[in-house]
Amino acid sequence: MTDYLIVGNGVAGTTAAEHIRKLDDNGNIIIITDEDFPFYSRIRLPEYIANEISEERLVIKKENWYTNLRIDLKLNTRIIGADAKDKVLIADNDQKFSYDVLLIAAGSHSFLPPIKGLERKGAFTLRNVKDARDILAYTQNVQEVVLIGGGLLGLESGNALRKIGKTVTVVEFFPRLLPRQLDVDGAKELQNIMEKMGFSFRLDARTQEIIGNTHVEGVLLEDGDLLPGQMVIISAGVRPNMELAELLGLDVDKGIKVDNNLKTNQLDIFAAGDVAEFKGAPYGIWPAAAEQGEVAGVNMTGRSTLYAGTTMSNKLKVVGVDLASAGNIDVDHQMESRVVKEEKLYKKIIFEENKIVGCIMLGDTTGFNKVVKAMSEQKDVSPIKDDILAKGFDFNLI
C-alpha cells in the first residue's frame, strides 16, 4: 500500500488527491495545510470582503468529500522540517509524516516590496481566508483605502472595498493599469471605465512610505504627494513558497523546477501549482494549478501522463467591466493584429503564422473561451482573420 503525502490543499493538491484516489483505491492519502479551512475558492475572496458571500460559501470541498474519498485532511499543520533520505516531513506540532510519494503543492505568498511602514496596523495583503477576515474586520474604521499595485488582484480587492462604501485610490508604478494583461490603449480605456465607477488612479507613481503612528494614516509617494488612507493593501505580485524545496534540496529557480511529468529532480517528489516552475516560470493561475494537479496525481500512482502547458489567460472580475486577456498581448504593437477601438470597447487579436497567439477583450468578452481554446489547439484561423472582430461574429466558426 502506497503512502501519498500532499503539502497544500489548494486546487493543485486537492485535484491531485482526487486523481490519485480514482486510480488507487487502497493507498493512504494525506493532505496537509497550515490553514484552518478545507479547499476553498481564493478567487472569491474579494466577494467575501464585499460582504456578498459568507465564509462557508467559499468552501469548494466540504468535509464529506474528504470522508467519501478517504482523504485525510490535516488542518492547522505547518511543515517545517524534512528528511528526504528517510522520506519524512516534520510539522510544527512535532507530528511526523512519512511518505512513499510526495507532492509539494504549497502555492505562493504575497510579495512584499521593501516599503517603509509596512508594520503599521492597517497594512494588509490578500492571499488567504485569514487575510480576508482581517481586512474585513478592520474596514469598520476606514474611509479611504490605498491599493499599492494596479494588477488584477489590486483592482478586484479595490472594487470589493469600493462596494462597501470606501474611497479607493490605486497606486501603480507602471504608467498603465494591468501592465501584464493590457497594452496602452486597452489600459487607457479600462482606466476611463473604472474612474467613472469612482476609482482614483496614480500611475507611474512610486510609494515612498506608509505613514502614521501605530496605525496607517496615509501613503507618501516619491514625488512628495500624500494620499490619505486608513488602510493600505499591497498587491505587488506573488512568490512561490519554497521553504520545503530548500529543506529537501530540490532544484529551484523562480519556482520548484518540474519536467513534463511534474516531477522534481528527486525521485518520488512532485510539485504542482503556483509553486512549480514549468518551462521557465510559475503560472500563478488557477486553471494551470488544476491541470498540473491532475497530471501530478496520475503520475504519482506510477502511470505516466504528460503536461503540455496551459494557455495563460486572465479575466478581471469586476461587475460592470468585461475584461479578459490571454497569451501574448503584443504591448509594443510589433506583431500582426486586428484591433477595434470604440467608446467603452477595445478588442485586439494577435496572430502569428495564421494562428491566434494572444487577445485582449475589453467591453465585450463574447467568444473569449473559444479564442483561448483555438490558441491552445494552435488552430489555423486564416479564413476568419478579417472577420473575427466584426460585430456579431459567430465564434463557432473559429
Binding site: 486546487v11 476553498y40 478567487i43 460559501r57 467559499l58 468552501v59 469548494i60 488544476a290 472580475k317 473561451n369
Partner: protein, 53 residues
C-alpha cells in the same frame, strides 16, 4: 441539453453527467441548477458560466 463552461477555470457542466457529488442529479439542465450552485472546480458562481455550443 446545452453544456456550459466556466469562464474562470474551464470546467464544463454537462447535464448528462450532472454534479452528483453536490446533489445535482444526472439530467439537470444548467438553467435548473440552484442559484447557489458553484463551479465544483474553482467555486465560481453560475453567472461566470457561458454556453458551450
Amino acid at each position: 441539453m446545452d453544456k456550459y463552461v466556466c469562464s474562470i477555470c474551464g470546467y464544463v457542466y454537462d447535464p448528462e453527467e450532472g454534479d452528483p457529488e453536490n446533489g445535482i442529479e444526472i439530467g439537470t439542465a444548467f438553467v435548473d441548477l440552484p442559484d447557489d450552485w458553484v463551479c465544483p472546480v474553482c467555486g465560481a458562481s453560475k453567472e461566470d458560466f457561458e454556453i458551450e455550443e
